[in-house]
């Protein structure tokens, strides 16, 4: 089966005051149609840059040095800004942002903002003008009802600050689904919410993937969320993907030293509560080989020379570590 999205050997650098920082270095991931891929990493590991690269909204100072991003068989990197806007963003790829409190425009009604997305991207079913807009409103109201937003008709006429955080996240999920995308990218959509709301949203997302025939890229720093929600998993450390595979395989028998260390830190799974010694290297002065080498307990001499090739762990996961090469 052709994966819906695949990212190959992506390299992204950002030019700053202190030089060029290699934010992403050889990142790769694959989402199979109908599955949920969790991308896990600590804050600052390049998760947001990865998302922005896929959607073509990198900051001005950033540059894609190498790699390919293929979505439904098309290379997104050759698309122009206008093409991305017309054919990809909002329409075929929906986006659920991290902080629902900040992602909605405070001075526009919720309805105005959601309809703006549909204006350019929703299928028109042969309708035009007012009739088309009415069909959009009808679809939105239906979606909001499905998201359990109370009184959906009135909700469209209200402003973002009049909703609670959880409700706002439901509005944004509805927005992501408004134009029937095939892929939804969610950037830590539950981090800003309290635990109860968090669980409700995760449950909702799980249902929606089946209901709307979606695939999903779910970015998080929380293995617990991954275990609950995702089918596959991809672990990123300091801009490099280190381990990828089915959730059960990776969480059940983690192969890469970083994955193992990270799981040991997770309070619910920790056998002993310990952190990882050392700190994440600055992308300005990244070590030439495996970026985890300076902190790795099982480091070998060749680790620091060149980036390790992809190998297979007994669990079936793809691992970038000399021990499995």
């Amino acid at each position: 089966m052709i994966p819906i999205l695949s990212v190959r050997d992506l390299k992204v650098s950002i030019k700053g005051d202190e030089g060029i920082a290699a934010i992403l270095d050889n990142v790769g991931l694959t989402i199979e149609t109908g599955r949920i891929l969790g991308v896990v990493g600590e804050s600052g590991c390049g998760k947001s840059t990865l998302i922005r690269a896929i959607m073509g909204i990198l900051p001005r100072a950033a540059r894609i040095e190498a790699g390919a991003i293929t979505f439904e068989g098309e290379n997104l990197l050759v698309f122009s800004e206008t093409e991305l806007n017309q054919r990809i963003r909002g329409s075929r790829i929906g986006f659920i942002p991290q902080d629902p409190l900040l992602a909605l425009n405070p001075v526009f009604k919720v309805g105005t903002q959601l309809l703006e997305i549909m204006r350019d991207h929703a299928p028109d079913n042969g309708l035009r003008g007012a009739a088309r807009k009415r069909s959009h409103v009808a679809r939105l109201v239906g979606l909001l009802r499905r998201m359990q937003v109370p009184d959906p008709d009135a909700a469209l006429e209200r402003y973002p600050h009049q909703f609670s955080g959880g409700q706002r996240q439901r509005l944004l999920i509805a927005a992501a689904l408004a134009c029937s995308p095939s892929l939804v990218i969610a950037d830590e959509p539950t981090t800003a919410l309290d635990v109860t709301t968090q669980n409700q949203i995760l449950l909702l997302l799980r249902e929606l993937v089946a209901e709307f025939n979606l695939s999903m890229l779910f970015v998080t720093h929380d293995f617990g969320v991954v275990a609950e929600l995702c089918d596959d998993l991809c672990v990123i450390y300091a801009g490099q993907s280190v381990e990828a595979g089915p959730v059960d395989a990776v969480l059940g028998s983690p192969a890469h030293p970083y994955t193992r260390a990270l799981l040991a830190c997770h309070p619910e799974r920790a056998s002993s509560f310990r952190g990882i010694p050392g700190s994440v290297p600055s992308p300005l002065a990244a070590p030439p080989g495996c970026r985890f080498a300076p902190r790795c307990a099982d480091v070998l001499a060749e680790c620091v020379k060149q980036a390790p090739p992809a190998g297979h762990a007994p669990s079936g996961a793809v691992v970038r570590c000399v021990h499995y090469a």
């Binding site: 963003r89 909605l104 001075v107 350019d120 944004l172």
Partner: protein, 336 residues
């Protein structure tokens, strides 16, 4: 919304009362006895005393103040020493010309300043941005009266493209006054020649007057847009494929103009003050040139009336900007 407006009006009352007190003190208590000015240098003490009694200056201060307030509320500012007509009548007659000039200048500085500010922000730290910043720095530092003279030398005297002064050429008959607004009256009388001529007369004064406002609107819009672009919702809107032109000119701009709207309120003071100078240079028959005349001839009734009028206009404009602010940013209304 209505409650918000009423609240704002109530908040303006103490300031207006303060204005009343300040002007009262200026005219009735300090620095010198107005009756002496009325009677002239040769007046005897007895004459002075009689005048003081006539003017009520021998009564307790609070009584004088009550009288003064009553007069102000009846819009009774007495007679102009210069035109020998009621000040209120003079002002009413000259108001349309001043309003035309002010509105034209304000409209120009907003319609040109906001797009330029957005443009500068989108080209942050590129040459259009540097150029506009330089121009707005110059615009804030230029003396309007000098700039007006430079424009007159160039466009009226050398190139002869635009008229030098006044609001209508002497050779063109004034259309009958229906509204008092020359441009409107010309249109109502279907006098296109008068309309075109009046418009040509408006160009230089309005442009001069708009200059200070233009440069601060450019500055504030630029800063506002740069600020807004930092917000998460802009990233979200881009990720969801908002069309770029609509993203900038609708969704970003409405968030950015709050600072500009506040600024427009403050600008109004500058426009009124600038109007005094610009009107007198271009012989514009409005309240500004009337004020200069009154000041140069020491016409106190007029000066008093103008000061109060300006204070009231200022308060009204501040209420209007707050209301506009509330309309743009719904969070304000909910807080109130």
């Amino acid at each position: 919304m209505i409650r918000f407006i009423l609240r704002r009006c109530a908040l303006a009352l103490p300031s207006l009362f303060g204005l009343l007190v300040v002007t009262f003190l200026l005219t009735h208590v300090v620095p010198n006895d107005p009756s002496a000015a009325l009677a002239g240098d040769a007046a005897t003490p007895e004459q002075l005393q009689r005048l003081r009694e006539q003017a009520g200056l021998d009564r307790p201060v609070w009584e004088q103040f009550a009288d003064y307030t009553a007069k102000v509320l009846r819009l009774d500012f007495g007679e102009s020493a210069f035109s020998r007509r009621p000040v209120t009548l003079d002002l009413a007659q000259r108001l349309p010309a001043t309003l035309t000039l002010t509105v034209a200048a304000l409209a120009f500085s907003i319609l040109v300043g906001v797009p330029l500010g957005v443009f500068a922000a989108l080209h942050h730290n590129e040459w259009p941005d540097y150029l506009l910043r330089l121009v707005s720095v110059l615009g804030a530092a230029v003396a309007a009266f000098w700039f007006a003279i430079m424009l007159q030398i160039l466009f009226s005297m050398q190139l002869e493209w635009l008229p030098l002064r006044g609001e209508l050429a002497d050779t063109i008959a004034r259309p009958p006054g229906v509204t008092g607004f020359l441009l409107l009256d010309s249109l109502l009388a279907l006098r296109l020649d008068a309309f075109r001529n009046a418009l040509a007369h408006l160009v230089l004064p309005a442009f001069t007057l708009s200059l200070g406002g233009l440069s601060s609107i450019v500055r504030f819009t630029r800063a506002g847009v740069l600020d807004t672009l930092q917000n998460d919702f802009v990233l979200y809107e881009r990720a969801m494929g908002y069309r770029r032109s609509r993203l900038v000119w609708r969704y970003v701009l409405r968030n950015s103009v709050t600072a500009t709207i506040t600024q427009i309120g403050l600008l109004f003071g500058g426009l009124i003050a600038g109007g005094v100078v610009v009107e007198s240079i271009f012989d514009w028959p409005g309240i500004g040139s009337y004020t200069v005349q009154a000041i140069l001839t020491g016409d106190r009734q007029v000066m008093l009336a103008v000061t109060l009028l300006v204070g009231v206009i200022y308060a009204v404009v501040n209420i209007l900007t707050d209301v506009a602010h509330g309309m743009v940013d719904p969070r304000l209304l909910d807080k109130a």
